[in-house]
Structure formats: structure tokens, C-alpha cells
Amino acid sequence: MDPMIRLILAQGMLGLNNGVFYAMLSLGLAVIFGLLNVVNFAHGALYMLGAFLALILYSNLGPWLGLDALHIGFWPALVLAPLMVAGFGMLIERFLLRRLYKLDPIYSLLLTFGITLVLQGVFINFFNASGTPYPGMPDSLKGVVNLGFMMFPKYRLFVIVFSIIVCFGTWFIIERTHIGARLRAGTENPELVKAFGINVPLMVMLTFGFGTGLAGLAGVLAAPIYSVSPLMGANLIIVIFAVVVIGGMGSILGAVVTGFSLGLIEGITKVFYAPASNTVIFLLMVIVLLVRPQGLFGKHG
């Protein structure tokens, strides 16, 4: 194979691997925005929280409890950490965000910004600011697979496949099930849905929990790849905002497709001009704003 093509494919795979996180985070952001009209700035911080919970379950919980042999591994963490993040999200919704729904949505953005600072500050105080590697990667996912054009880490392949399933599952729930129909109806006209006897405040809380749980799940998946650091969500959230502006916040599928494609594009940019890979998504956002301000999948108006 031509080495150039090989390189593009390889960087594409790595880019896709980042795209996983863009897709899962912008998906959660879109689900939340749809029903709550809230842009959750804390989404990146909750992603970080998910990663830290995985790390804590593996490395810190045992010593804290005086049980040095206790390591709660990756698979249980993949379930527990997102649930805990979702629970935390629901507390935020129930006790803080709920007071702001009648106001301009910028207030909820600012509130979640404040939460971001608090979470980051707390973790910087207790953990190494420059990151801690996650030691709990399961043996079954160690090693590499031969993709023909490159040797690709098994774990990363797992992450790609797993998150595609999660994204598709979320799309299916929202677009094809009875629960999803309630959610869509609530997005359009919450008052009427309430009048039909559906507990909309509860639905809102659960939806926020679901969206933030997705962020937590992404965090757990990220832990074995990137080192777990208090600032891992900080710069990511801004990229996610750009992804959301590019895709338009209206569509679930749009968020997923945009997330994966931008990861891919970012990866391939590395091949041609590495310094631009930081900014290529932002530059694409500029182009989209110029030619289609409502976003690729956004509705007019």
C-alpha cells in the first residue's frame, strides 16, 4: 500500500477515536438542550468526573476503605461511574438548574460554568494536575489488532465499536420508542405534555441525568487512553461547542455524525499540517457560519 494512504488511514483511525468522544458528548449536549433548552457547560467537567470515578474505583477506593486489595475494575466502572455521574447530574438539575428555567438560557450556561470551575478546582486539589494514568485496562482488551494498514490497539477499536452502539442505541430510544416519543413531545410543547398527565419535571431530571451519564460514560472510556486529569474536559468542551455549532443542535443523528466526522477530519489534518489540527474544527465552524449559519443539520430560523 502507498505509504501516504497508509498514513492517512492510520491517522483517520486515531481521529475517529477522538470523534467517539466528540460524538458522545455532543449527543448528550443535544439531548439535554432539546428538552431543557440548557447548554450544559459542565459537560466536559462531568466527562472528567466519569474518568476520575473510574480511576478512584480502581486505585483509591480500596486504600480509603483500608482494603488495599480492592480494585473495582474497568467493566464494573463502565456501569457504576456513568450512573454516579448521572446521579450527580440529576442533583444539579433538581436543586440548581430547575430554578432558572423561566429565565434567559444564558443563566443556566453561567451556572454550569460555575459548576465546571468548582469541579475542576476540587480535582486539581486532590489529584495530580498533569494527569494520572488509569491502570485498570482489562487484559482482554490489551494488545493490538492488525487492520491491514496498521496495528491498532484493541482497546481503541473496542471504544469505537462500543460508542457507535451507544450512539445508535440512544438514537433508537429517542426516535423509535414510546419513551422517546414522550421526550420529543416534551421538547416541542412541555406544557401540553404535562397537561396529558406526564410528569414533565421528572422527565426533565431523568433526561439531564441521561445526558450527563453519557458524558460520564465517555469519561470512563477515555480513562485508559488519555491520562486522567482535572483539565481533560476543559478544552474538550470548547471543541464540543464548535461541533455543536457545526452540526446544529436540533438533531440527534446530526450530533453523532458531525462528531465522528470531525474527529476523522481532525485526524487526517495531522497528516498534512500538524499544527492546524488543534484549530481545524474551529476553522470549519467559521466556514459553516459563513455558508450555513444554522448548522449542517439545523433547521432554518
Binding site: V39, L110, G114, I115, L119, G121, L289
Partner: protein, 327 residues
């Protein structure tokens, strides 16, 4: 964000009279505080206060008087600091010219960013400004002249008009004080001009302003450029004061801090951002011993302000004295 009843109360004759008096007192207090500050505080700290106060006042023109939440103002503040620093240090510009260059750069950058961001409204506007500012941040990180992680260091203060030695703290202080007062007066004039009235009409009800025939986008853009330019003035001045420009100045957290200053002091008030800036900077100064708990405190203040205290300090005082709009 003021409602109609409040607005009507504002224009009632007794309120206007009381408002003028209270505002006069505030002006006197502000000028007096600026003049005597170096007797009470370290000049560098006092100058830091003034730079951030100017930054917040500039920011308030958008959020408070036009209703636009920019989440990218650090780009103008920090970007201008780098440009001013570069021309002062490498090109040997005199102080005033250096600061003006930084200011013009920020205004031009504001024009570009504004042009893009006003294509979307509300919450999207905030996200776009944040993302665009991140481009500036990456430039600050990667461009050859910025010094990367270390920042741009060793910016000379130089001589004002070729005569006054700005390395003397008091000279520097009164120069910064003059810059601040000029910037503050400019914003005050703008807000009280017919142009400012249109901006406030846009904030209250954009569709209505549109239907009255105003070219809303042009007004927004102009407000954005002005605000960015003055944020740049603050950033350039800060670079001269501290003799370096750093990544912190351009980081999104700085954009968040200026929002907090404005929110805490009172969005849409004249003096609020100054009060907010003084409190936030002083708080950071006092808490510098507790490391990154500062961030937790700042974040907590944010949450408290949004939940309990949306009018801000000056906004609350104005309400208690029933002089809404005059402070």
C-alpha cells in the same frame, strides 16, 4: 432585563432627580478612589484593579447594554496584550502607540469575530465567541513571537511622550488611571448616546427594534467592535503594567472571570463592573495562598450570583435606592 414598570419608574421626575444626585456621588467617589488609591494600595495592585475594571466595563457594554453574552472576551484582552507587548518590545514603539496598536488589533479582531458570531443568536452567540476565542488562544500558544507557555516577557514600560519615566510606579499608576478614566468615560458616553439607546432597545426586544427599522446587526457589530477594542485597551495596558503577556490573559477562564466581575457588580449598571472587578481581583489576591481552591471559590460565587443575586451588588443598591438605570 429591567422590566417596563421599572423603566417607567426610572423616568419619573423624582427618580430622575434622585438618580442624578446618586450618580453624581458615585462619579465623585470613583474619581476620588482612583486618585488616592496609590496611597492605600501597592501601585501594581491598584493598576491591576484598574485594568480589570476597564475590561469589565467594556464587557458590560455587550452583556449589560446590548444583551449579548460574549464568552470570548479573553481573546481581545489577551490578544491585545500580546500585540502591544510585541510592538513595544521588538519594534520599540513608545507606550501610547503600543497601547493604541493593541487596542486597534482588538477592535479589528472584534470586527471579525462579531461578524461571524452575530449570525447566530442567544446561547449560540456565546458558544461561537467561545470557540473563536479558542483559535486566538491556540495562536498565542503556537505563534513564534508569543513565547508559547512562557508568555511574552520583558516588555519595556518606556517613557511617556519621551519624557515621563513609566518605570516609576506612581508615574505608571497615574497614566493607567488616565487610561481607565478615558475608557470609562467613553463607555458612559456611548451608553447615554442615541446609539446606546438603540442598543438597549435591542436588548429589551430585538424583533421590535428590527421592526422599527433599525439595522440591528450593524448596531450589534458596532457594539461588539467597541467592546472588543476597549477590552484590548485594558489588555494592552495590563501588558505594559506587568511587562509581560501570558496565556492566562487569553484563556477561556479569563472570559469567564470577566463575566463574573460584571455579573457580581451588576450587569447593565454603569458602576457595577468596576465594583465587581475590584472584588474578584481582591478575592483572588487574598486567596492566592490556598492554591486552586480559588477556582472553587470563584465557581461557587458564580453559582451563588446566578441563583440568588442576578442584579449584582450595584443593581441591588440601585433597586433599594429606587434609582434603577442611574447607577
Amino acid at each position: 432585563m429591567t422590566d417596563i414598570a421599572e423603566f417607567e419608574a426610572e423616568t419619573a421626575p423624582e427618580t430622575m432627580k434622585r438618580g442624578r444626585v446618586v450618580q453624581g456621588i458615585m462619579w465623585a467617589l470613583l474619581i476620588a478612589a482612583v486618585l488616592i488609591a496609590p496611597a492605600l494600595l501597592y501601585p501594581v495592585f491598584a493598576m491591576q484593579l484598574l485594568c480589570f475594571a476597564l475590561f469589565a466595563v467594556a464587557f458590560n457594554l455587550l452583556i449589560g447594554f446590548t444583551g449579548l453574552l460574549s464568552f470570548g472576551h479573553a481573546a481581545f484582552f489577551g490578544g491585545a496584550a500580546y500585540i502591544a507587548g510585541h510592538v513595544l518590545k521588538v519594534w520599540g514603539f513608545p507606550p501610547i502607540l503600543g497601547i493604541l496598536t493593541g487596542t486597534l488589533f482588538a477592535a479589528a479582531l472584534g470586527w471579525l469575530v462579531g461578524l461571524l458570531a452575530i449570525r447566530r443568536q442567544g446561547i449560540y452567540f456565546a458558544m461561537i465567541t467561545l470557540a473563536l476565542a479558542q483559535i486566538v488562544y491556540f495562536f498565542a500558544l503556537q505563534m513564534p513571537f508569543t513565547g508559547g507557555e512562557d508568555g511574552l516577557q520583558g516588555i519595556p514600560r518606556g517613557y511617556l511622550l519621551g519624557m515621563i519615566d513609566l518605570s516609576q510606579p506612581l508615574n505608571m499608576y497615574y497614566f493607567v488611571a488616565a487610561v481607565f478614566l478615558i475608557g470609562f468615560a467613553v463607555i458612559y458616553r456611548v451608553v447615554h448616546s442615541p446609539f446606546g439607546q438603540v442598543l438597549q432597545a435591542i436588548r429589551e426586544n430585538e424583533p421590535r427594534a428590527l421592526s422599527l427599522g433599525y439595522n440591528v446587526d450593524r448596531f450589534k457589530l458596532l457594539a461588539f467592535v467597541l467592546s472588543a477594542g476597549l477590552a484590548g485597551l485594558a489588555g494592552s495596558t495590563k501588558a505594559l503594567v506587568f511587562q509581560f503577556a501570558s496565556l492566562t490573559d487569553a484563556h477561556w477562564q479569563m472570559s469567564g472571570e470577566v463575566i463574573l466581575m460584571t455579573l457580581l457588580g451588576g450587569m447593565g449598571t454603569i458602576f457595577g463592573p468596576v465594583v465587581g472587578a475590584v472584588i474578584v481581583v481582591a478575592l483572588q489576591h487574598m486567596l492566592s495562598g490556598i492554591g486552586s481552591w480559588v477556582q472553587v471559590v470563584i465557581g461557587g460565587t458564580f453559582i451563588a450570583c446566578v441563583l440568588l443575586f442576578r442584579r449584582g451588588i450595584v443593581g441591588e443598591i440601585a433597586r433599594m435606592l429606587k434609582v434603577g438605570g442611574w447607577l
